[in-house]
Symmetry: D2
Subunit: 377 residues, 4 copies
């Protein structure tokens, strides 16, 4: 891929990163520094305002021009083309409306604009949504499934890390209408960086190293986001190009919403999510037919690579990259399909997908600045 995207082809665009010192923030900076079309002109950090990014994160030593401003929507320079908001959930909604009013396009990496149904916020996020009026126009930024809307969006709600891995894994079967939507189980496992950068007892090294656990069993706040998008897929959603891939033209046909049982786990490692998904099929299928569904669905998507049997994903193969690796097995004994998906939670699950969204919004090739292969080992 090297060399395909030449910087000479780009008119460089200026970008801002809010919340630049968190894990998602520094991942955005890492990716944007390699992006031939983006120029970082503004960084904010509440906890480290006034410092250079290299003072807080010494891996940026040598890039000492990156200085953090205090978080303030008014100080984002006028000539910025796009703002990445990598703020905590609940903080984003305090800042993003003002940015939109100032005319900026925003890719928001928090959960604040992901759910269309504002009544879900009190149930899953413990507070009413203060700006429910903005939810209808926000676009859920799962690139492979909503490209067309993203292209012209003013506000992209960048998906959560778990939802990205789960939705990409389940979308083809749901779009095909092949699933008994009462028995979807998503057993997901994440590295510790998903918990953010603030030290807490549960993520103190000796408390999670050499250990493994489930948490928020069947009650994680990413559940409604997954259900919203799978319901969309089951009702025939996805971009037109995807819809045409359905072959038989039938919508997935879920009149009621899709419900999933989602349980996350903590892996003693830094990066990566692996989701294992169990799906009851609603008719007899040959494994070869199921494989064909996946192969076709993602045939044109560079960042979703479907693995043919016997290969199965491992998180290391996507470490540091924007790829999602997928595989499927049909278990004849139980009539279920098992889909395994792997992503890097900080890249395809956060900063990388945000950059991919920027590429789509700017009409650039989707892979621009995102062609690095995984850091293995």
């Amino acid at each position: 891929m090297s060399g395909e995207v030449k910087s000479g082809e780009f008119k460089t665009k200026k970008v801002a990163v809010l919340g630049a010192t968190g894990y998602t923030g520094i991942e955005l900076v890492r990716l944007l520094l390699e992006h031939p079309g983006a120029e970082i002109t503004y960084l904010s950090s509440e906890s480290h305002a006034g410092k250079s990014l290299a003072e807080v994160h010494p891996q940026f030593t040598g890039w000492d021009g990156l200085v953090c401003s205090p978080l303030d929507s008014k100080s984002v320079p006028e000539d910025v083309d796009l703002v990445f908001a990598a703020l905590p959930h609940g903080s984003s909604v305090e800042v993003v409306p003002a940015l939109l009013e100032r005319g900026f396009r925003v890719v928001d990496l928090s959960a604040d604009f992901r759910l269309k149904d504002d009544s879900l916020y009190p149930a899953w996020y413990d507070r009413a949504h203060p700006r429910a009026d903005l939810l209808p126009s926000a676009v859920y930024g799962l690139c492979e499934l909503r490209r067309q809307e993203i292209r012209s969006a003013r506000l992209v709600a960048n998906p959560g890390c778990y939802p990205t891995s789960a939705i990409l894994g389940l979308a083809p079967l749901l779009n095909k209408g092949a699933v008994d939507t009462n028995h979807i189980v998503i057993d997901a496992k994440s590295g510790v960086s998903g918990a953010g950068r603030s030290p807490k007892q549960a993520f103190h090294f000796p408390e999670c190293s050499e250990s493994f656990k489930a948490y928020r069993v069947a009650s994680h706040q990413h559940t409604p986001e997954i259900e919203q998008e799978l319901t969309f897929m089951a009702s025939g959603g996805a971009s037109p190009e995807k819809s045409s891939q359905q072959g038989d033209g039938k919508p997935g046909g879920a009149e009621q919403g899709v419900t999933v049982l989602f349980t996350p786990h903590l892996i003693p490692m830094n990066r990566g999510i692996l989701s294992t998904m169990y799906i009851s099929l609603n008719q007899e299928w040959e494994e070869s037919e199921l494989l064909e569904v996946y192969r076709n669905f993602y045939a044109d998507d560079f960042f979703v690579q479907f693995f043919e049997p016997p290969r199965l994903p491992e998180t290391r193969w996507v470490r540091g990259t924007n790829f999602c690796h997928l595989s499927l097995r049909h278990d004849r004994r139980t009539g279920k399909a098992v889909v395994v998906s792997a992503i890097d939670n900080l890249v395809k699950g956060a900063a990388g997908q945000a950059v991919q969204n920027m590429n789509i919004m700017h009409g650039w090739p989707e892979y621009t600045g995102l062609t690095q292969t995984a850091l293995v080992p």
Copy 2:
């Protein structure tokens, strides 16, 4: 617990360990050295015959009397009371019959005598069973569920690590007859020591550190063992004391066998298995009722600790111990129960359970020599 089991109460019994230099073998030695009733008088190792155990495994420096003999059923001394066979699958069946003929009681830690239906061996282990005649009298040594049979057994087939975690987690609900046996999903995760001590590409440090993967999706050889025992539980099995705990006296009522979808995963850590199990309930249940089923079922079992909500198991809390920690959640949204179980794969999943079986066979308190608490952190 300290001091309850006093060595003065025991007439010490002599034991042999075959396959003493593998991970299961050294774990047996570790536990037996602390056991007040057992005296190791014979060790075998094919790869390290003639060496002291401390030469191969320097953690035994200071216990230099432990010398490995070549593997030979004839050289096990007559006065040995019990033989632990910690040999590879397929090797055990070559040795154990001769030991039984010589009159030894045997706890076999391989898979060679676990399945009652010998027709399953070709399907799951790629070879016909050469001594199917021994299968009927072998007792599946999951202590909490088959105590009575174990007590008088000549040959105990010590359960696999995954099956131990899965069966203990599912037994109460199946015994209660509360499960739609068509939708049992077992998503299990294991540390790398489960793969044994021989170096292989997949377990080379840089290939599995900082990574996570599924393997043998829906096709792992531990599947039939789990199904065999769950079928037993669903048909009203378990020791009489357990049966009486059923309350309503009704057998679980599974006329056909239980089928499970079992998928293992590899965690980048040394020890521990966490199994997350998804169960469709066949009627409406309150969570409190389900909790009561578990609480009661294991009320008298020291090594199975049921955690009340909101606590969930973590593998570190059983590291180095013979405990199984369990929890249950009822997901009203999907009508499923989620059971999480944690064990140390080398202890309750192998050597510890073998010692617990020895204790039962000798009429000793089950916890004898097994009261060490976890090595945390």
Copy 3:
């Protein structure tokens, strides 16, 4: 070793553990529960007063009788024979004097009573010592080197983890008078549990996993403790039995104190310290002579195992145990000796040595309750 120390031989003694919920505290509890002569009758915890230990540390589930009191020297029951103080540095000195006045013997695991020269406290611990009057009678509890004093001590200052590994490694050569005391370099590496249980940015899992660093280069507060004891050794110190091992009866002859350059490092693992020590020899030596010095020096010490070449220590072989593994190489090219020592920082480096001190104080065999072999892997 199993069975050598029978509980029947002991009159059980009651012990108290102050600071029971920190890593050192729970390690003491873990060891004391297995100790045939000790009965825990009092636990304190400032942060978790009123809770059972199992609520805070679920690995103690099944031992629910262990309840934490608020920290209060007055509430330690009269019939306690020995108090373990596992409190933070600076807190211990607030409590221990009152315990001594009440007549308790105390093993203090903090740094508060380790240094004889109270003028070192301001320099290395940033505060004057409030009870310098107690320092002369406190005994530095490095068991192998000060047994005789420990036996009758009222207050034992349990050594630091780094000092234990360093002093045990260097003592034989210094005692022999074989060292140019101007060029001692101690390059030590520790697992993260050494940093304690409070979450901090530097020990947040993603900040130290898959990374390695030096810290407090040549300025760590364990330096004066090492120098104090090495000066003692160099001047002919150690228990009489050690002194007699010197052969030539000559003191080490360091008229001035020994100075060391000590630099600690952080290893991305939970437990273990490995110290690599570089020593300029003050005369020509054959490697075989140096090996003989070590072999003899520790000939009667169960917990210090000297490895003959080519074996070198690895921290896993002492994990969870009270052992120190040592090796030595002579580098003819540079005229230096390299000594490598490995301990478990929480056992021989803290709680295990504290129990060993208790054993000595009570006249019990030193290994009582400490015979568990390492948890490998």
Copy 4:
């Protein structure tokens, strides 16, 4: 830095990678795919000839054009500008001479051409050098110190990983003539990827995870390479631009060679080397003067970043990058300087430096294709 090196400025050059499936090989491929001036046109692999690289290393899925040829110097295409040989020690010398005869420029990543004195090969590598005639013209490719020679070299011997970290850390002081060359101690620690990709008992996950050890104490084969280059530095070496930085123009003045005591250790992580170096100073120095020496020495070197106190290097900050992070402390108590250096063993310690060498050989900016910042966390 992004955008500074534009692909439009380059005439792309064709490169070959021999030994493409080892860890160094895939790291070269990873870096070269991002390099705007290099085009991979030939890959070889003995063990995986005929396969696409993605079959062996699925992180390259999506780059399926990369196919491995069998290793054969004759099949390297004529139009290749530069060959990277990432072959095992001893294999390289079998292939490289033929490549040189065919007129290719070669960057060899093995140890086969690093030592000028061929008599050292039998002592440290257990065999005589079969082509000692090539040693004089091979250039030791430590970029920062031998730029001028590298520029026109036909054969660059890419430095070992440990030597890179050690030499960069010690060069300024030796060049300054500030060191007592009899007391240099290098205590180095490496992640496991340094051991290569072949599975071995010592690098089996459960054997090295959660453990730490020293190995080849004072006898590692990288020792002579370090001594050779430090002797060069001590005698006033380094590129002219460095020499001029000496200020006083005095050569380091080591008439005899420099001898070092070098001991490597194994860290339970994938990537990174941290070397802690202890240096006896031959006169009185202020710390500020020493810092100034380092600051100046590397003032113009993008890839060597000298950290001002109190900052100390951590390997994570260079993970995946070509940087070397350095710091220095003066210990007034012992009159020694402590230098700490961190690199990624696979990048600056191998593949990255090889690419940097290519850049120098082609007259490209040194940082071309090497500007990615570290993957943190």
